[in-house]
Amino acid sequence: MSSIKSSERLGRSEATSGLMLISPTAIFAFLLLAAPLATILAYSFMADGYLTIIPQFQTCNYIGTCFSYEMKDGVLTAAKEYNGVFSDPLAQTLLVRSLGVSLMVTLVTVVLAFPVAYFVSFHVAADKKSLWLFLITIPFWTSYLVRVFLWKVILGYNGVINSALMGLGIITEPITALNYNVGAIVTTLAHAYAPFAILPIFVALEKIDRSFLEAGLDLGESAFNTFRRVTLPLAMPGVISATLIVFIPTVGDYVTPNLVGGPEGKLVANLIQLQYMKLDNYPLGSATAVSAMLLVAIVSLIFLFLNRRYLRGPK
């Protein structure tokens, strides 16, 4: 092949050129992502000293009780006792709640997004498709904080929904159950992650050979059965990526529970922020962050395993 010839002529192998070209970005990602993640993993097994980390191996940040050390008369002394992540009822509650919220958000987002992706892929004229996708992605790129806050306005006591329902005479008193709870968090997050769910499903639907569907119909399947037995299985890789791309980041969302969650709606990100910024307990904060990632990874792997038959390539 002439490309091999030309790179040979220039005295460099394909692999060397590629590695050299990618090295600045790779080194950046290594230093600012891989190394920091390794650091918090290491910190999560160390002890909390006074404004320092004491490098002694311990597992009590995860299970059991730990001590924060303080400097007293020039000696590090065990001062404050605290529970590890899996021995602390509050941390457990927040981890479980965060996972639950993420799963709910994922389900709502993907189920609501699928028909939109299907519509754009199957019913929109080819030259209008990118306009639709552009319209779907715009809200995603615009002022995240303000959008989250406006959900508070929509769901609030004198909010849009309550005013509309009262104006129509359906209710006489504003419904207070709309705001400051897990439901409000799910609504807000499902809204924020909508494009993330639509795009992968759309890409998978676009790849489907339309003659398969005709074949299904020609062979006497109903439209619904063709969808169930041909379209849906072929769209599954897109549905799976949509699920993961919504599920994984939502577990760590900080802004939404903070603004619309109220006191009962705190999630694990709020706990991590508290442990790092307010309590200055880096080992415990790191252990919480690592635990959250671990749980997300386990759930994601189980999900991938259950759907493995859709991800195999064509035989």
């Binding site: 498709k129 779907i136 303000v146 929509i154």
Partner: protein, 268 residues
């Protein structure tokens, strides 16, 4: 009608997607200190009030500096990675690209606290520079996603022709490849600028005492009386973002058309 039900559903869906953005200007021009219904009357006072907020000026200056720096650095890193991954086969390609693209799915708070721990550990003072580093980490995967589409649709034979005519790899890149992917680069600059301008978590954790626009907005939400001003600010920011995104989309499409590729849709 073909797709009738789906069309209706998609239009309702789009409406809900835009609901918060539609409400924003309504409250920005509403003559009431409380952001709720019923509406009070028309006013532009929130916009004029916005002009005499010294912290806001500071935040705007910081945000612009950070967003410009971030967009340039992440697009440079994006060009290198997108070019390497679309043109060359090299060892551990999957693992390297996986690491670089990881911030797309990694919960942002985890990336933010791990960076915080490292910056404090090596004694790096928190400030604009640390925010920029965090933003580049977040923005580079988006830049790569946009630029890969531009590089992928490049015709390899153009490059080979240049080599055969005696150009070096560097001059070929400069003379042939760069002009063809330029629309993609402009699109990447605009998108990463928009993301950085709107990014909150990294700025909140890594900024120390420095305030960016989103951090300013977040702190103002605690004071009910300053919310209308934030609605006015938000209106301007949303208009700015939409304008930048529309320009980016224009360049992205032009780029793909220029290199002869097929337009398959969105940015991601």
């Amino acid at each position: 009608m073909k797709g009738g039900w789906f069309r209706g559903y998609a239009i309702v869906y789009l409406f809900v997607l835009y609901a918060p953005i539609i409400l924003l200007p309504i409250f920005a021009f509403n003559d009431s200190a409380i952001v709720s219904f019923p509406l009070a009357g028309f006013t532009t006072k929130w916009f004029t009030q916005m002009l005499d907020e010294p912290t806001l000026h500071e935040a705007l200056k910081n945000s612009l500096f950070i967003a410009v720096s971030t967009s340039i650095i992440s697009t440079l890193l994006g060009v290198l990675a997108a070019r390497a991954s679309t043109r060359f086969v090299f060892p551990a390609k999957g693992a390297i690209m996986g690491l670089i693209m990881l911030p797309l799915v990694l919960p942002e708070i985890i990336a933010a606290v791990s960076l915080l721990v490292v910056f404090l550990g090596i004694g790096m003072p928190l400030g604009l520079l640390t925010i920029i580093l965090g933003h580049v980490l977040v923005c580079t995967p988006f830049s790569i996603a946009i630029l890969s589409a531009a590089f992928q649709s490049l015709d390899r034979s153009l490059e080979e022709a240049a080599y055969d005519l005696g150009e070096t790899p560097l001059s070929t890149f400069y003379l042939i490849i760069l002009p063809l992917v330029m629309p993609g680069i402009i699109s990447s600059l605009l998108i990463t600028f928009t993301i950085s301008l709107d990014e909150f978590i990294m700025a909140f954790f890594l900024g120390g005492t420095n305030v960016t626009l989103p951090v300013y907005i977040f702190t103002q939400f605690r004071f009910p009386q300053s919310v209308p001003v934030i609605m006015a600010l938000g209106t301007i920011l949303v208009l700015l973002s939409i304008t930048l995104l529309a320009i980016a989309e224009y360049f992205r499409r032009r780029g793909i058309a220029k290199t002869g590729g097929k337009n398959t849709g969105g940015f991601l």
